[in-house]
């Protein structure tokens, strides 16, 4: 009964054969003309952009877990440095004491009084110089570490600013999408609510026997229905625009404050690291001292030999201690680098963002398809098509309802 009683726009697809009972539509083509398609396409572009972004360089950040692991590594380095200094200092005292005792014994054997203060000072000066060298080397390490921290601090600040800016953009986008979804939902609800009334009015309009005044009356009712729906949606859109404007202002202020406090925090953290890394040198023994110049040449030679022996033993011992420290430092540096490499990967919230966008996309797509299917059902009913199939890959003699449905969906824009 309804077949042939349609609006001109719906008469484009005539049954191509058979009984005209089986029809089909190209859902993709219909999705592309749906009023919400721009929003869907935008989501798809965002997903593509995020996918591409995941190829780009990672953005580092400073999570609390990272900071605590970082501090732990720093403590280990400082501890190793202090331990090394202490060992070297103990060795210095021990060798100094042994050397002094040996020299005193040599002096006593040669009939000379022990001149511990002058000889001891000489020994102390030599070993002190060695300790000074060791400390200087460790201090260079600490200085290099400080330079690394300083460079990292700059990068961290940039990353932090970037992260805050990204967060604000995401919040804005999320809010905008949330509001748009609500608008779409309202739109869909209104259209669903009025679907039967609209179908009835359209059917009456399609009745050729209807006189002009009755036709105008029905058309007015249809227009009023459309206007009522669009007014409600427009009112909601206006409210949403205001909400977005307020949120934008609020987020900007908050972002600036966050950036300021974040940068200050990074500087404070790194300052603390530099402080903990910057352990002072153990006081090197004063250089110089009084040389034992009035001794017989053979005794002087013996003392020199003793001194060289203890010097060599200390140097050997100290180099082993320093090698141990260097190994510890290198291991810590490696762990530090690994920690930051892992962080830049793990910190990336891209995958979460992608999943959220994908879910949003799927929901929107589903809403669009639901509405399209409702429109297709109406068109099929009007055209007397009892079975409609989508996802057709080749046209046959069935009724192609795509154009008719397209016109219906395009009319939703109005």
């Amino acid at each position: 009964m309804l077949a042939g009683c349609t609006k001109p726009a719906q008469q484009t697809a005539a049954p191509a054969g058979g009984e005209g009972k089986v029809g089909y539509v190209d859902i993709d083509a219909l999705v592309r003309v749906h009023p919400l398609y721009p929003q869907l396409a935008q989501t798809e572009r965002s997903i593509d952009a995020l996918n591409l972004r995941s190829l780009g360089p990672g953005v580092g950040s400073t999570g609390s877990s990272l900071a605590s692991q970082d501090a732990e590594l720093q403590k280990e380095l400082t501890d190793a440095s202090n331990r090394t200094r202490q060992i070297l200092s103990e060795r210095q005292t021990e060798y100094q004491r042994e050397e002094t005792a040996a020299i005193n014994a040599a002096l006593a054997a040669g009939g000379h009084a022990a001149a511990s203060s002058s000889v001891g000072a000489n020994v102390g000066a030599t070993t002190g110089k060695q300790v000074g060298n060791v400390n200087a080397e460790m201090n260079r390490d600490v200085a290099a570490y400080r330079r690394t921290l300083s460079s990292q601090e700059q990068q961290q600040e940039k990353s932090y600013e970037h992260a805050v800016s990204d967060r604000v953009n995401r919040q804005m986008l999320a809010k905008a999408n949330e509001l748009q979804n609500k608008e779409s939902t309202l739109e869909l609800q209104l259209q669903t609510k009025d679907a039967s009334e609209r179908l009835e009015l359209r059917t009456r309009l399609g009745n050729l026997a209807l006189d002009q005044s009755a036709r105008e009356q029905v058309k007015a009712q249809l227009d009023a229905l459309d206007k009522s729906e669009s007014d409600q949606v427009a009112a909601m859109r206006n409210r949403d625009q205001q909400t977005l404007a307020q949120l934008r202002a609020q987020l900007r202020g908050q972002a600036q404050s966050d950036v300021n406090s974040g940068v200050a925090k990074i500087r404070a953290q790194n300052g603390a690291k530099q402080g903990s890394a910057g352990g002072g040198t153990t006081g090197a023994a004063p250089a110089g001292g009084v040389a034992a110049t009035n001794l017989p040449p053979d005794l002087k030679a013996k003392i020199d030999a003793l001194h060289k022996e203890y010097q060599a033993r200390y140097a050997h011992d100290a180099s082993a201690t320093i090698a141990q420290f260097t190994k510890t430092r290198d291991d810590l540096q490696k762990r530090y680098n690994e920690l930051h490499a892992v962080d830049s990967g793990a910190n990336s919230s891209l995958s979460k963002e992608l999943a959220a966008l994908q879910a949003q996309h799927d929901q929107l797509y589903s809403e669009i398809v639901d509405q399209i299917e409702r429109e297709v059902r109406i068109v099929a009913q009007i055209k007397g098509v009892t079975t409609v199939v989508s996802d057709v890959i080749g046209d046959g003699s069935g009724v192609d309802l795509t154009q008719a449905a397209k016109k219906e969906i395009e009319s939703l824009h109005e």
């Binding site: 089909y24 798809e44 952009a49 972004r53 797509y365 009892t386 079975t387 080749g394």
Partner: protein, 272 residues
Amino acid sequence: MRLRTSRAYRLALAVLLAAVTLGSPRVLAADTTDIGFLDQGALANLQSFQNANRQMASFRANLQKEFVNRARKARSQQDQAKLANDFQTQLANEQRRVFGPLFAAAQTAVASVASSKGLSVVVDKRIIIVGGQDVTKNVMDLLSSPGSPVPPVSTPPPSTVGWVDQTQIDQLDQFKNAQQQFLKFGQDERASVQDKLKGVKTDSDRNKIYAEYQKAIDDQRAKIVTPLVDQTRAAIEQVAKKKGLLLVIDRSNLIFGGTDVTSDVLAVLKKS
């Protein structure tokens, strides 16, 4: 669209169930009642399918652990690729072993229900917007009842709904070449984007690079892929008209019956 590609398990079932297609088609007049549809998602809720899914998940988890351990020891990328291949093969074999009998029972049940209802074709519920006969409950009842479903004695009646196995079309030289060309273009473009992103400091520059990439991909798709899609559609339409079919669907959406026109479409495409 993205959503339509995310239902692999349904398609896998559809592909397996489609193997039941029998007989050479003779095209008769269309009858709206001879198109049935099945909700494969509901079928997956049957106890037997759920048990099989659990079994498969456990197998996959164990295999995954083994793969990770062995991949760590792999010396080269080739070794890793070989391992991945072995992993996939084992997984597929197990899937066949676990699901094979269930799919066979399901396809027999669908054929039996279709035969008793005089249906010439059963398709996935997802592609039916209006009408058609829902056979989901009948098939589920049959599968849940004691004993194995009994195959129908007769072949399905001729159908005016045609189907094409597009994976076979993808194997044609011109399609394979186009696919590889497009794939390579995409890889090159992504590598280029990666390089460009290294020196980028602002979001605006970054977005510009993304937009350029998207445009390049779209242009290339329009140049390489779209003409082949159009060519295929035209070939299918030509065959459908010649055979008096109402419409043609992809094999992945077919569950039972229908008229296979894949070889006819391949012949047209080879000539063009």
